[in-house]
């Protein structure tokens, strides 16, 4: 069966291999998908049920089955500014990350030559040092008497005369921490672009700027969308940066979920907050899926 297929196109023969249809496919899928079903999908059901629980009268910290949709109203009324702040911080961090990541991804994809794989390693290498310690290191870098803060202060650029314990520090931390999630999808999209298309634009008298605007940028859109999502989503849910680099006035929604769940043991409120965060993010993801299709996601 295989030998008859002309072996010039890898695609054609790969398709033949993919025709295989047997029990084996399901057997290979089952254990992993079952794990994801039980420990990823079902927990959302329990999360939703927990968010509707009501307190047992007389026993603080104990909850029982209920349909308290009021939990959502209460949680939202108390914490809506944290949602706004989280999405704002994450949004700003994502835009800055895109501006920083694009030139690097572009360079790696088109100009790096034999340094390409080394540069990709360097992009992921910082992730091998602890996330918490890297965030903590920004406390040193942005310290009040540090080089960056004093320089910006000398230029009168800081509204609060400091960076640490302000929103600026939190956004800076978020931008730094999730930057690789922006660089890698951008690189993957740029690398697929046939350089001859850009050359063709040049042959047709497009200036380099026009060629970028009309050819490279539109073709890199899948990477922009993927990178934006992969940066924005973890940034919006993060609370490590807000905790380590911000003050109480910079709390994000993740901080509220964590304190309600683990410290106050107010499970219904914490669950309602998580559920609303997830709902907001799912809206984003499904908008993306409608653009790109599921096969491109994985």
């Amino acid at each position: 069966m295989v030998a008859v297929v002309p072996t010039t196109g890898g695609q054609a023969s790969a398709a033949v291999v993919a025709q295989r249809s047997s029990k084996t496919g399901y057997l290979l899928l089952f254990p992993g998908l079952a794990w994801l079903g039980v420990f990823f999908a079902i927990p959302f059901v329990t999360l939703f049920m927990t968010s509707l629980q009501q307190p047992i009268p007389g026993k603080s910290g104990k909850y029982t089955f209920g349909l308290e949709f009021g939990n959502y109203v209460e949680a939202f009324t108390e914490y809506w500014p944290l949602y706004v702040r989280s999405f704002m911080y994450a949004g700003i961090a994502t835009v800055i990350a895109l501006c920083i990541a694009y030139p690097l991804a572009y360079f790696i994809a088109f100009r790096a030559g034999r340094w390409r794989s080394l540069m990709l390693v360097l992009v992921i290498a910082p992730s091998f040092a602890s996330f918490l310690l890297r965030t903590y290191a920004w406390k040193t870098i942005l310290a009040d008497e540090g080089f960056i803060t004093s320089t910006l202060n000398a230029l009168n650029l800081l509204p609060d005369d400091r960076i640490l314990n302000t929103g600026i520090a939190v956004v800076a931390g978020l931008t730094y921490n999730f930057l690789p999630f922006m660089i890698l999808p951008l690189y993957a999209a740029l690398e697929k672009i046939d350089p001859r298309l850009v050359e063709a634009a040049g042959d047709l008298y497009a200036s380099p700027q026009t060629a970028f605007r009309k050819v490279t940028w539109p073709l890199s859109m899948p990477g922009v969308v993927a990178g934006t999502l992969l940066t924005f989503i973890p940034a919006a849910g993060d609370y490590i940066n807000a905790e380590l680099l911000g003050s109480t006035g910079n709390r994000m929604i993740g901080n509220a979920i964590q304190t309600n769940f683990i410290e106050f043991r107010d499970y219904p409120t914490a669950s309602a907050l998580s559920f609303m965060l997830m709902a907001a993010i799912l809206v984003l993801v499904f908008t993306y899926i409608r653009r790109a299709g599921t096969e491109d996601l994985v």
């Binding site: 993919a18 496919g25 849910g237 993801v285």
Partner: protein, 276 residues
Amino acid sequence: MRWLRKNLIGIVAVLVLVYLFIPIAVIMVLSFNKPSGKFNLSWNEFSLDAWTNLCGVPGVCSSFVTSIQIGIMSTLVATLLGTMIAFALVRYRFRGRSTTNLLIFLPMATPEVVMGASLLALFLNLRFPLGQGTVIIAHIMFIISFVVVTVKARLQGMDPRLEEAARDLYANPRAVFRYVTFPLVLPGILGAALLGFSLSFDDFIISFFNAGTLVTFPIYIWGAAQRGIPVQVNALATIVFLVALAIVLGGQFVGNRRRKALDRAAPITVDVMSRS
């Protein structure tokens, strides 16, 4: 000026790479510091204390070992389950493909705090005792997707003619898998395992929700951040960073040599034959 315009993008690219490494440099430099107060935040005095006495502060090394154990356990299981899914996705036809894709994509698109909270809600409702077991369960759950993506990419990038050649040479399916498919996919599986281990080892949010009283390395750092992180933590993080970097660079080096050797061995069939 013209030189600047021509190389501007390269300069920016290098600056961004430098920026990525600034905090790493801070972590490393401060591992040789002797802090003046509780907090190891600014340079005071050179000292090798942390390096000569890595486990000098109680709790640091035990949490480090706990994280390594959790990392190994969850990586082994997640790599196996994820590789199986990747093979099914690339090589087999089955119903419910888009649901499967969605179930694999969503864990990567869910904020950790939501995954941590929902899993904790499950364990609390089941009265399941929190500890090492629940953390491993959680880590396997969020690593699987990354393994699937990595191994799937490797499988799709494989030249199908290599397997065809083996079949043409009357290799049975088992021999094809053992002598051709598996060795070719192995680098992808190893890469996925390394990625999985580093994700597990470094995870804080999901672990913190599901750890109960268990202290992993990141949980130790989180607790210590309030009262001052011991210098030993910086030294250990430096070691982890350098070891991981060495493994990745070593892997690249071996990969390059293998590729060059394959390019030199002109007819591919010869290579396949000599192995089976």
